[in-house]
């Protein structure tokens, strides 16, 4: 691994002498994205504000290329560290070009007059972030997605080696979130940037971060690769999730299961059951599902949402034990839904369940379900 360019050790951060998070150790490595996650108010922003020197550290040191940040000149720090902060600046009568070119601040002279070189760097930054077409637009009149890109261009224009961003994707729609982070990835590689950012979107953190730092209860709870951090059940624990679950493998969110005796039995599999489970959950109808192979597409959702779930080990045909259990639960339900339409040797048991349900007059079409349950 490369040497970290920005490094913090035993760092205590907080407001007015009161420590919000203590004993932080973090490092920003060129070519890598370090992402801070954690519940609201845990202090992600406090850490980032301290690194960007909006807050003084209460204890510990931050070093930039091996030198203590406190001993460096403002201008020298600004030549190495740039930021995209939360909150929308509302400068009056500034075009996007003006905003981007303000990133040249640490390079210009006493009066801040841009040289030819500064202009070229500004153009280059705008081209990299693909906002050239906004050059003449008033910064106050562009969309949120455009604004974040312009602010990113401004930071790039500062020619930093470390880029710090506080929740850069909040307020963006899904397209602009993906665009922004993909662009960032490209820049990290092409410019060998060390990036520290905070994110609320866990699914995105999992996909775009090289390392993740989890903040909670006044400390750094975990730090590692997404694979190390996103272990089964950890995210629920980190955020104190009680009414729902987070699928650590796929980064999916599910709500909580409707508990109680199941009224409906769902014969699913291969992903066919997922919309049915979610719909029953929304209608607050307790249901059972089966027989689902572990590792099946249906499995994580059925596990999160069903009141009862009958499973079978992966890669084997449905065995007799599972079948008996499923039959018993199914016959106590008032209706059976069977979104699964494809049957083969592995799920032959489910075909038998379906035949049994049809025989007993339990097999129901989804649109008749509501009426049936009212009776």
């Amino acid at each position: 691994m490369k040497e970290p360019i920005l490094f913090a050790e035993h760092l205590d951060v907080g407001y007015k002498g009161e420590i919000v998070i203590g004993d932080i150790r973090l490092e920003a490595v060129p070519g890598q994205i370090l992402t801070l996650i954690g519940p609201n108010g845990a202090g992600k922003s406090t850490i980032l504000k301290t690194i960007t020197r909006q807050l003084d550290p209460i204890g510990g040191v931050i070093t930039l290329e091996g030198k203590d940040l406190k001993t460096l000149k403002e201008r020298d720090i600004a030549r190495s560290v740039a930021a995209v902060l939360t909150g929308r600046p509302t400068p009056e009568l500034m075009t996007c070009w003006d905003v981007v070119s303000s990133g040249r601040y640490p390079y210009t002279g006493r009066l801040g007059i841009l040289s030819q070189h500064d202009r070229e760097k500004t153009e280059e930054a705008m081209a990299l972030v693909r906002v050239e077409s906004l050059r003449e637009r008033d910064f106050n009149q562009i969309s949120d997605g455009q604004r974040q890109r312009v602010l990113l261009a401004r930071a790039i224009c500062q020619e930093p080696r470390v880029l710090i961003m506080d929740e850069p994707t909040s307020f963006l729609d899904i397209k602009h979130k993906l665009d922004f982070l993909t662009l960032l990835r490209e820049l990290v590689h092409s410019k060998d940037l060390a990036v520290i950012l905070s994110l609320h979107e866990l699914d995105l953190a999992q996909r775009y971060a090289d390392r993740i730092l989890c903040v909670r209860d006044g400390r750094v709870d975990r730090i590692g690769t997404p694979e190390e951090v996103f272990s089964e059940g950890y995210i629920e624990e980190l955020y104190g999730v009680e009414r729902g679950s987070f699928d650590a493998l796929f980064g999916n969110v599910e709500t909580e299961a409707v508990t109680g005796d199941p009224l409906v039995f769902v014969i699913g599999g291969g992903g066919s059951g997922i919309p049915v489970y979610r719909r029953l959950q929304r209608q607050r109808i307790p249901f059972a599902a089966g027989v689902i192979h572990e590792g099946d597409l249906d499995y994580p959702v059925a596990k999160a949402l069903s009141a009862r779930l009958v499973t079978q080990d992966a890669y084997g045909p449905i065995g007799l034990a599972a079948l008996r259990e499923a039959e018993e639960i199914m016959l106590r339900c008032r209706a059976v839904l069977c979104p699964q339409t494809r049957f083969g040797p592995m799920n032959e048991g489910n075909l038998r369940l379906r035949e049994l349900a049809a025989e007993r007059g339990l097999l129901t079409e989804p649109d008749q379900l509501e009426e049936l349950l009212k009776r």
Partner: protein
């Protein structure tokens, strides 16, 4: 694009200079004694003639004071607007002019009662103290309340208290010299001599030079304090420097011309629209020239409209300034609705 901007800036600066020149000439010519251009020229170059005294002792110092103090006032308004990120901040609405006025009035009465005549430098110092006091009060408020509207309300309140106290003090001070004090406390460019003009020119141009040197961090500050810091601005030092400069400029204006309303808001706004930018490096000279033109025009109107009765300069600046401010508020409202 940069060429287009440069062209616009040049055009605007040239227009302002021409406007200023015309108003300077008009201010010399028009008055109780009307002079023609040849007469004016001959007096200016020979310093002799029937009306030489009027021009050299009355009109010239007065118009120079109006131009320079008007410029200083609108630059101090621009600095305050940048500092508070609030387009309706200005030395008058934030109570800075009024509290400077109060301290100057107290100083004058105290020294007059002891039979000492004080120089203009002492008055500037007194005004500076007053300006800093209200600036301090406003800063305390702005640290506690993060509302722009409340900040302005608070400034206006400070202004009212100071004006009220000044009125009381002036009413009960019985010295005959108080008559002058009364005129001054309403705001006027009259009664300036060359000594005053020399002092105010030096102070204002030092202040302007300081402001101009701060135009780089000021530009960064327009993106907000945290961005300024991330670009390497020493924000603490910058804020102190900006406050001191604002104080010097508005103190100088108040010490010589009393409180003058709305120039500090209206002129920077008009200048921004005219130049279509808020870049400090352009706006500082632009506001200075704009303020000079505005005050020369207002002073011309103040002394000629109901001649021989002279209006207080504040009445005239308010008549022209307030519609601009209201228009600006409406315009901004529209923008934030769309945004």
């Amino acid at each position: 694009m940069e060429e287009k901007r440069r062209f616009r800036y040049t055009l605007c600066f040239v227009s302002l200079l021409i406007g200023m020149f015309i108003l300077l000439v008009a201010n010399v010519m028009v008055g109780s004694a009307r002079l023609s251009i040849p007469q004016v020229l001959s007096i200016l170059f020979t310093k002799t003639g029937d009306n030489a005294a009027i021009i050299w002792k009355v009109r010239m110092p007065r118009l120079l004071a109006a131009a320079i103090l008007g410029g200083a006032l609108s630059v101090s308004g621009f600095l305050l607007q940048t500092f508070f990120a609030n387009p309706i901040a200005g030395p008058f609405v934030l109570g800075i002019s009024s509290s400077a006025k109060l301290v100057v009035a107290l100083t004058m009465i105290w020294t007059l009662s002891r039979g000492v005549a004080v120089g203009s430098v002492v008055l500037i110092a007194a005004a500076f103290v007053g300006a800093m006091l209200s600036m301090g009060a406003v800063l305390l408020v702005s640290n506690r309340l993060h509302s722009m509207a409340l900040l302005i309300v608070c400034g206006v309140m400070i202004g009212y208290i100071c004006s009220a106290v000044t009125d009381i003090v002036v009413t009960f001070a019985s010295d005959s010299n108080i008559v002058n004090l009364h005129n001054w406390s309403l705001g006027s460019f009259s009664g300036k001599d060359w000594g005053d003009v020399t002092v105010l020119t030096i102070v204002v141009f030092l202040g302007l030079a300081g402001a101009f040197l701060l135009s780089k961090p000021m530009g960064a500050y327009q993106l907000g304090e945290s961005y300024a810091r991330s670009m390497g601005v020493n924000v603490k030092r910058f804020r102190v420097e900006l406050i001191l400069l604002t104080g010097v400029l508005s103190a100088c204006v108040t010490a010589f011309a009393g409180p003058i309303s709305f120039v500090g808001i209206a002129v920077p706004h008009l200048s921004r629209r005219l130049f279509n930018t808020s870049r400090p490096i352009v706006m500082i000279p632009a506001c200075f020239l704009g303020g000079a033109v505005f005050c020369l025009l207002c002073d011309l109107i103040a002394r000629t409209l109901f001649a021989p009765t002279e209006l207080s300069i504040s009445s005239v600046t308010a008549v022209f300034g307030v519609p601009v401010v209201i228009w600006m508020l409406l315009h901004r409202q529209g923008r934030s609705d769309r945004g």
